[in-house]
Amino acid sequence: MSFAPRLSVRGMRGIMKDIKALIFALGLSIASLGGSPGLFAAAVDDLVAAAKKENAFEFYAPSTLTPQGAQALGAAFNKKYGLSIKLQYNPSGNMTRDIGKLVGLAASGTPPEWDLMVVTDAHHATLWLKKLHQTFDYKSLGVDAKAIQFDNGAVSFANQFVLPAYNKQLVAPKDAPKSWDDLLNPKWKGKIGVSSATHHFGRLAAGPWGEEKTTQFVNALTKQDLILGRLGEIYNRLLLGEIVVAVSLSDSEIKSETNKGAPVVHAEAVSPLLAPAYHAGVPKNAAHPKVAHLFAAFLTTPDAQKIWEKFAGQSSTLIPGTTAYKYVQGKKVVYLSQDQAETVDRLSREYGKIFGFTSL
């Protein structure tokens, strides 16, 4: 019986062990943060008291969460901890660009614009490599060490799923891509788009495919007269039918509350499935770090998970019983580990240049 997704890259046995432990730990953290008196109550109380003084925070999160989703999260957070914190939602239009901006601001000594950033593990990897996380002992709040990523820099709480996607009004399911290599079929030439989320390919390179095969694949894709854009733009163009296939699209776009009923679907037959994790982390010199750390831990609670799934469409593959957990059963899934961060960071830039997102 399998309790965790199949992993394609690392030693299966060790990873399975890690994930089982993580499932247990996450469950534990959820129980403790859920308000029951326990080992971590004092630390939570202290942080709540400190958060109360900060009174507000800037929350950077995917645009697919929507303002309504962010509002619901804020209300649940305040209710849970008896706070009246003002949450200012900053929807992401381009995580890579905003991470780059944050790195630039940090170099000049300018404080970050956001207090808590929910971005993918690949983006947090960039912050980690640049030592730009404001670390916190999340374990003291009941979040298990294995759910805590990048040396106490971020907390993992949900997973996206990334696959090629198509417009089902324009492509019959039988004609949809069945593998990643199908995207190289000349029939898609001029009708296919790729987003600036090039870390998707970095994951394949750091994982099951290796760098050489992935780079060949990326180069071959450029022969397909790709339409370029940010994730939201590529989604819009797919929706309109300007392109009929997107090389990779996350379920954030497909499952978002605002996009329900749209004719864009994943090419489910394609394998491996990429599973970028959403991590919540506090950038160094954030103006309201206490609220931000508390909120990061809050995102792992059942209340927050329910809201996140309702509005943004994701849950964690690590928690048995969640939609994400059920979905990955029997699938070949690619996760990102901390030791792959540097490779993914480097290759994301390199593939960005190959696709034409940047010139130099």
Partner: protein, 582 residues
């Protein structure tokens, strides 16, 4: 203390110094040099450094070597040249005939056309571009779909994703500014030559082509140079139409170097690209000045109180109106209908029975949640502060240039004109670098103030051209009379000169306010979460996939604009031609 008393006190102080005017002019010159020179110095500095702002490090030519040893750069330069040239041509094809029709003929519905042209300015170019995608995309564009159905074509009839397509969209959006710039030349043209042509039996079209166009050629050439410089710097159409198809121009490279879609910002490379843009701007500015000076030799405007006769279009009235309506359809009606359509749907889609069944007003109800109040407040600040700051500086500069004998007044005029040569995106990147690298001395990065400063610098050339023009028209006798009665110089300026030129200043104020509202390139380059404005919200929402939400916002803004502009048009008719800015 009343304003008049304050002005009087200041005036006495200035006059008492003896060299007060000279000192004042010197201070003003220093201020402008600082405002314009520092951002440009930052561009130069960043082009000679690697790394992030504030990191310091040795000066190097590495960025220039990287940029100009890359063959792709020359393709980008060619793209930029073709795009800017095409844009100018498209603009003139529509703007010149329209100026003639509205200024010199008895075309019906002129008042309505003015209002609609102004409304067109207020529809963000991003939204209009999305409308054009729905019409002319090779795969889904309605025009191409109809062409396939009617003519059985297998290939798309038209495509936007090429330089002509980009130039067409950008060119159409430039028509209102070109129109208002050319309006003055056509409005005051001596009709004697036209009448001579008609008497000789020359048709109206021939007269337009052989009399009106040649007479106003210097003015048209001036506008061409101005538009070319603007087209070098614009970002919207290259971003939505060019970038997805990998058609890069200089502005998109500078933007993506500082706001990269993948990887980290590279300010040095942006500076190296900017150097060529700046050089092009300075060369064009030189030609612009030459053209404007040359144009004065062709002046055929008669004296005070002159009013040219309107030409009767006769049977050409309705075809002429159809031409104007064709333009307005492209500029206003179709984009507005597309906005309305998109705003009523759950997600962006082409017209179909299913789409009609799914229509609702839910996105209108959620505008406040999606947009928030801050971008609206910031936009209001921008629309007030930018024209106010620009016109105050412009009036002061023009007063020194036109009304005083300060010996360096010519230099002051040239300095005030310099921002015309600096592409907006470069100005913004320079200011952004300044704000980041020297934030302790210039603590405005991330605030609305930095966008206000960028816009003010950018439009000071336009403002001073306007105020120079109106101030020349005020006879010195009035000021001399004021001085004889014992009024100080500032009092004369405040109590006599300003009231006389108020109408022209107000027109320019309104015009700059509208330009500031719709400007997106500089606002995006300097944008952060705290200084979001309506124009940047549109770009952000498109990237987020929130097109129906932003379409609803667009519809509300357009309706609001129609009401405000209509009201202003009626209320201030007495102050002169609204929005002419000339």
């Amino acid at each position: 203390m009343s304003t008049a008393t304050q002005v009087g006190a200041l005036g006495r102080a200035v006059d008492l110094k003896g060299h007060g005017v000279g000192l004042f002019a010197g201070g003003l010159t220093a201020l402008l040099v600082l405002m314009i020179g520092v951002p440009l110095a930052m561009v130069a500095l960043m082009s000679l450094r690697t790394g992030f702002p504030g990191e310091g490090g040795p000066l190097t030519l590495a960025n220039f070597i990287a940029v100009y040893s890359n063959p792709g750069t020359y393709k980008v330069l060619l793209n930029t040249l073709l795009f800017a040239t095409g844009t100018v041509l498209v603009t003139l094809v529509f703007a010149v005939p329209m100026v003639w029709l509205l200024m010199r003929t008895d075309l019906p519905l002129k008042g309505t056309i003015y209002v609609l042209m102004t409304v067109g300015i207020l529809i963000p170019v991003f939204l209009r571009t999305i409308a054009w995608i729905l019409l002319l995309s090779p795969r889904i564009g309605l025009v191409n779909q109809w062409a396939r159905q009617i003519f059985g074509m297998t290939e798309p009839l038209l495509s936007l994703y090429n330089i002509p397509g980009m130039a067409f969209i950008q060119g159409v959006s430039f028509v209102p500014p070109a129109f208002f710039m050319l309006a003055a030349a056509y409005r005051t043209m001596d009709p004697a030559l036209e009448e001579a042509a008609y008497t000789a039996g020359v048709s109206k079209l021939q007269t337009f082509l052989r009399i009106n166009v040649p007479i106003t050629l210097p003015a048209i050439a001036g506008v061409m140079v101005y538009l070319f410089m603007t087209a070098l710097a614009v970002f919207e159409v290259p971003a939505i139409i060019g970038f997805p198809a990998r058609i890069l121009v200089l502005s998109s490279l500078i933007y993506t170097s500082t706001n990269p879609p993948t990887g980290l910002p590279n300010y040095g490379v942006a500076g190296a690209y900017g150097a060529v843009m700046l050089a092009a701007g300075l060369i064009l500015a030189y030609f612009y000045v030459r053209l404007v000076q040359h144009g004065k030799k062709y002046t055929v405007i008669t004296g005070r109180g002159y009013r040219p006769r309107e030409i009767a279009l006769g049977r050409w009235k309705w075809p002429a109106l159809a031409f104007v309506m064709l333009y307005l359809s492209m500029e206003v009606f179709i984009p507005f209908l597309v906005l309305l359509w998109a705003s009523l749907l759950p997600h962006l889609q082409l017209p179909s029975a299913t789409a009609f069944a799914e229509m609702s007003f839910k996105h209108y109800r959620s505008i406040a949640e999606y947009v928030g109040v801050l971008p609206l407040i910031n936009t209001a600040i921008l629309m007030f502060a930018v024209p106010t700051g620009t016109m105050i500086l412009s009036v002061l500069v023009s007063w020194v240039v036109v009304r005083t004998q300060v010996n360096f007044r010519g230099s002051l005029d040239t300095i005030a004109f310099l921002p015309h040569a600096v592409p907006g995106i470069l100005l913004a990147v320079g200011l952004g670098y300044l704000g980041l690298a020297y934030r302790n001395y210039f603590p405005v990065y991330g605030t609305i103030a930095i966008i206000v400063i960028a816009h003010t610098i950018n439009w000071i050339a336009y403002g001073t051209r306007t105020t120079n023009g109106v101030m020349i028209q005020v006879h010195r006798e009035l000021e001399e009379a004021g001085k004889v009665s014992g009024a100080s110089t500032p009092t004369v300026l405040w109590r006599i000169v300003l009231p006389l030129v108020a109408a022209g200043i107000f027109n320019s104020w309104i015009w700059i306010s509208m330009l500031s509202y719709r400007e997106v390139t500089m606002a995006l380059a300097l944008g952060t979460r705290k200084n979001l404005v309506v124009s940047t919200i549109v770009w952000q929402f498109w990237g987020n996939g929130w097109v129906p939400q932003v379409a609803a916002l667009g519809v509300v803004l357009v309706l609001f604009a129609v009401l405000v502009i209509g009201g202003l048009k009626i209320g201030f008719r007495r102050l002169g031609e609204f929005g002419s800015g000339s």
